[in-house]
Amino acid sequence: MGFLTGLAWLVAIVIGVIAIGWTFRAFTVAISPKPLAKELRTAPLTASFGMVIILIYIIVAIFAPAIAPFSETEIVGREYEPWDDTFLLGTDNLGRDMLSRLIYAARNTVGIAFITTALAFILGSVAGLLAATVGGWIDQLLSRAVDVLMAIPALIFALLLLTIVGTSIINMILVIALIDSTRVFRLARAVAMNIVVMDYVEAAKLRGEGLWRLISREILPNALAPLVAEFGLRFCFVFLTISALSFLGLGIQPPTADWGSMVRDNATLMTFGDITPLLPAGAIALLTVCVNWVVDWQLHRASGLKE
C-alpha cells in the first residue's frame, strides 16, 4: 500500500468518523426530550461517534446468535482459510469461523468487563463514601487495607490470586473487581472528602439524618459526575486486563471466544503478512478509544470548563 493510498484511507476514515458523529448527534437531538437534547447538543463529534460505536457493540453483543453466520465453537472448515464468500474473515487455527467468533467475543469480553466494572464500582464507592463520611477508625481501617492491596502490582496480584482460587469466569470477575475497587475507593473517598465539609452536609447532620440518607441523598448525588467519568475509564482498564489475562491463558477459557485469546491463538498468521489476527486487537482498540472519547466529554462537562 503506497503512501498516497494510506493517506486517502486516513482522510476517508476521518471524514467517516465526522459524518457518523454528526448524523448521530443530529438524530438523537431530534428524537430525545428537551433537557436531554440540550445536553446532547454539547457533545463533540468524537463523543458522538464514540456513542454510535458503543451502541453497535452493545447491539452486536445482545443479538450475537442472530447476527453470527456460524456457531461460536463449531469447526466449520480447514485451518487458516483466507477471506472468501463463505468465511467473510476466514477461519482460525482450528477451522472455526473468524467473524462468528469475533461477534460472540463481543458478548463475552464486553459483558464480563461490564459486570466486573460495575461490581468494582459498587464495592469501591460504597466503601469510599463510608470512609469519608464516618471518618475515624473506619476510615483508617479501610484506607490502610486499600493501601496494602494497591502496593502489589495489579496484573501480578491478579495472576497470583487466580492461581490460588482457580481460573473460572466467576473467580476472574471477583478478583479483578476486588483489585479495581481499590482505585475506585481512592477516588470516591477523595471526592466525598470535599463534599463532607460543605455546610449542607453539616445542616443534614444537625437535622439528625442517618448515615444512609447522608450518603445517598446529600453526598452521592454531588460525587456522581467524577465517578461516572471514572467508570468509563475503569471499564477500559478492566477490559484490557481481561484481554491480557486471556492472552496469558488465565482469563476466559477455550472454547469460549474472547478477543484477547483470539489474538494469541492466531498470532502465527501475522508472520505471513495476514491482518486477520489483528482484527480482535482492533476491536479492543476501537472500543477503548470510543469509550474514552465519551468519558472525555463527560469529564469536561463535570469540570464545568467553558471551551
Partner: protein
C-alpha cells in the same frame, strides 16, 4: 493635588460587552460612557451583576473568559485599546494600568515570597532591575504603613494577615508607578477595623503619586471616602454620575435614592426580659480546638421573641459560639441550657425534639443548600422528618413555606438552587429552618454575602417571621449597621471573651468598652470627610 488634573487619561464611549449564555451572546454592559482625568478617583457602584467588574477589566482592554467587548471605544492616554494587539496591551498592563483584586489571599501565588511577586512586573517590563525593585518595594511597604517594611517582603502570603496582604497587593500594583489602578472591591473581604487601615493606605498612596483610579465597590460609605466622583450602575447601564458631595446630598434618580435609603430599616427595640426562663442560655462556656481555647468563659441569655446580636471581628469566637450551641463542638467547661434544661454537649446525643428547636441559617447559601436537590425536598425534608408530614399535607406545607418567604410556590417548588439568585437562596435557607417549626434560630452572617438592597429584604423578612412565630434569634455579624437594624440585645466579643453586653440602646450610647468604641467608630459613614476626621482624631488620641 496635581497641576495637570484636567488632562484626560481614560475615555470609554458607548462601551458594550457581551457574555455567552448557552448558545447566545447576551449584552451585560449596554453602552456605558466614562471619562477619567489624571489623578482622579472614580467610584463605580451597583449591586452584583451590574457590570462593575466587567467595566473595570475593560479599562485594561480585557474581557473575562466567555465575554467579549462587542462595541464602543476605549481610549487610554491616546491609545486605542480595542485596536491594540495583545502584545501592545500586555506592555501596558502592570506597567501603566494595574489591577487590585478583591481577595488578595486568592490572588497572590502562595509559593513565592511577596517581594518576588512585587519585583516580577517591573523587571519583566524593564522598568527596574531586581535590586532596585527590592529597595523600591521596601519604600512602598513603608508608605503603605505595613509593619516591618524591611522584612515583610521576605514572607510568604500565608504568613501575613488579610489586611496586610491587601496593602501589599496595592503596593505591588504601584510598583511600575502606573497612571491608572483598578481596585475591585479591595476591602469587601475585610473586617471593619482592618478596612479602615487599608482604605487610609490606599487613599494616601493614590494621592502621593497622583494616580488615577477606578474604585469598584457595593459599599456606598466606602466609596464616599475614596472617590472624587461616583457613577451608579444598574444592570449594565449607567443610572447617573456626579461629584461625590453632590451625589451623596442630592441624588437625582429613584434607584440611587433607594440605595441611599437602604440602611433605614430599623426595628423597635423590645424591652429586655429578666425574669422568664431564657430559650437558650450559654453558661460559662470554655471551648476550643486542640490546645487553644477559642472561647473563654462565655455566658449570655437569649429570650423568646428577642434578637441577640453577637458582634466582633473575625477570630473573635462568634461562629465557635454557634458551634457550641448546635453541639458541633462540645465545650471543655460550661453548658448550654435550652428552656432551663441542659442540652447534651454533642449533637449526636441530642433528641430529635432538641435538634428541631434549634435551627441554623448559614452565611453562604451556596454551600448550605445541596445543589442536586430540588426546593421541594430541601424545604420539605425537615417537615417530613420532624413533623411526620406526608403526601398532600407535606405538599401544602412546602407551598405555605414558600409563601412565607415571598416566593411564588408554583414557579419555584421544582427548581434547583442553581436556578435562584443569591437572595432567593438565602430565603430558602430561612424556609428550611422554619420548616422544623423551631423556637430558636442561629443566623450566621446571613446578609454579609448579599447586596444591600437584597440584605435589607432578608432582614425585613426575618423580622416579620419573628413576630409571627415568636422566634428567638442569635444573630452573628460583624456589620454594625445590621445590628442597629435588627437587634434587641448586643454581645460584643473579642478574642473569645465577651467584652460587653446589654440592650442595643445602651450599646450605641457611650461610655463604651475601648474595643466596642473602636468597632463602632470604624463603621464607614456616608459623610465624605468621615475617614479624614476619624484618622485625625485617632492620631490626636494615639
Amino acid at each position: 493635588m496635581s497641576t495637570d488634573s484636567k488632562e484626560v487619561l481614560l475615555t470609554m464611549k458607548d462601551l458594550r460587552i457581551e457574555g455567552r449564555a448557552d448558545e447566545a451572546w447576551l449584552e451585560i454592559v449596554k453602552g456605558v460612557d466614562l471619562t477619567l482625568h489624571r489623578g482622579e478617583v472614580l467610584g463605580l457602584i451597583g449591586e452584583s451583576g451590574a457590570g462593575k467588574s466587567t467595566i473595570g477589566l475593560a479599562a485594561m482592554g480585557f474581557a473575562r473568559d466567555g465575554c467579549r467587548i462587542s462595541g464602543g471605544e476605549i481610549m487610554f492616554d491616546g491609545i486605542d485599546m480595542r485596536a491594540s494587539s495583545e502584545s501592545e496591551l500586555r506592555s501596558l498592563r502592570g506597567r501603566r494600568i494595574a489591577y487590585v483584586a478583591q481577595s488578595a489571599a486568592a490572588s497572590f501565588n502562595p509559593a513565592h515570597k511577596l517581594i518576588d511577586q512585587y519585583s516580577e512586573a517591573p523587571v519583566q517590563h524593564g522598568v527596574m532591575a531586581r535590586s532596585e525593585a527590592e529597595g523600591d518595594a521596601t519604600d512602598l511597604y513603608r508608605r503603605m504603613q505595613l509593619p516591618n517594611p524591611d522584612e515583610i517582603g521576605f514572607r510568604y502570603p500565608h504568613q501575613v494577615s488579610g489586611g496586610q496582604l491587601q496593602r501589599a497587593m496595592t503596593a505591588m500594583a504601584m510598583a511600575c508607578r502606573p497612571d491608572l489602578i483598578i481596585f475591585d472591591e479591595p476591602t469587601t473581604a475585610l473586617d471593619v477595623t482592618t478596612q479602615i487601615e487599608v482604605l487610609a493606605a490606599i487613599r494616601n498612596i493614590v494621592e502621593q503619586f497622583n494616580t488615577a483610579a477606578i474604585y469598584i465597590t457595593h459599599d456606598l460609605a466606602v466609596v464616599a471616602q475614596m472617590a472624587d466622583k461616583i457613577k451608579v450602575l444598574l444592570k449594565g447601564e449607567e443610572v447617573e454620575e456626579a461629584d461625590t458631595p453632590t451625589m451623596l446630598s442630592a441624588p437625582k434618580e429613584d434607584y440611587t435614592k433607594s440605595l441611599w435609603a437602604v440602611r433605614s430599616h430599623m426595628r423597635e427595640e423590645q424591652p429586655p426580659l429578666r425574669d422568664s426562663t431564657p430559650i437558650v442560655a450559654v453558661r460559662n462556656v470554655t471551648a476550643g480546638y486542640g490546645p487553644i481555647d477559642v472561647l473563654k468563659d462565655v455566658s449570655f441569655d437569649i429570650h423568646q421573641r428577642r434578637t441577640v446580636a453577637v458582634v466582633g471581628e473575625s477570630g473573635s469566637g462568634k461562629s465557635t459560639t454557634a458551634r457550641v450551641i448546635t453541639g458541633l463542638l462540645p465545650p471543655r467547661r460550661g453548658e448550654v441550657l435550652f428552656n432551663g434544661e441542659a442540652l447534651p454537649a454533642d449533637y449526636r446525643k441530642r433528641s430529635r425534639e432538641q435538634l428541631r428547636h434549634a435551627q441554623m441559617i448559614y452565611q453562604m447559601a451556596d454551600t448550605a443548600l445541596n445543589p442536586k436537590l430540588r426546593l421541594r425536598e430541601l424545604i420539605g425534608r425537615p417537615a417530613q422528618m420532624y413533623l411526620g408530614l406526608q403526601g398532600k399535607q407535606l405538599e401544602d406545607r412546602i407551598r405555605n413555606l414558600l409563601d412565607l418567604i415571598e416566593l411564588e410556590p408554583d414557579d419555584y417548588i421544582d427548581r434547583l438552587p442553581s436556578e435562584l439568585s443569591g437572595g432567593q437562596k438565602q430565603r430558602i435557607g430561612i424556609a428550611r429552618a422554619l420548616a422544623a417549626e423551631p423556637q430558636f434560630i442561629i443566623c450566621d452572617e446571613v446578609t454579609s454575602a448579599l447586596d444591600q438592597l437584597v440584605a435589607e429584604g432578608i432582614l425585613k423578612l426575618l423580622d416579620k417571621l419573628q413576630t409571627e412565630f415568636d422566634l428567638a434569634y442569635m444573630f452573628i455579624t460583624h456589620d454594625l449597621a445590621t445590628v442597629r437594624a435588627i437587634a434587641d440585645e448586643v454581645v460584643v466579643m473579642k478574642e473569645g471573651i465577651v467584652v460587653e453586653q446589654g440592650p442595643k440602646s445602651e450599646m450605641f450610647q457611650p461610655p463604651h468598652d475601648p474595643y466596642t468604641e473602636l468597632l463602632l467608630s470604624s463603621v464607614p459613614e456616608m459623610d465624605p470627610n468621615w475617614l479624614t476626621e476619624l484618622l485625625e482624631k485617632r492620631a490626636a488620641a494615639g
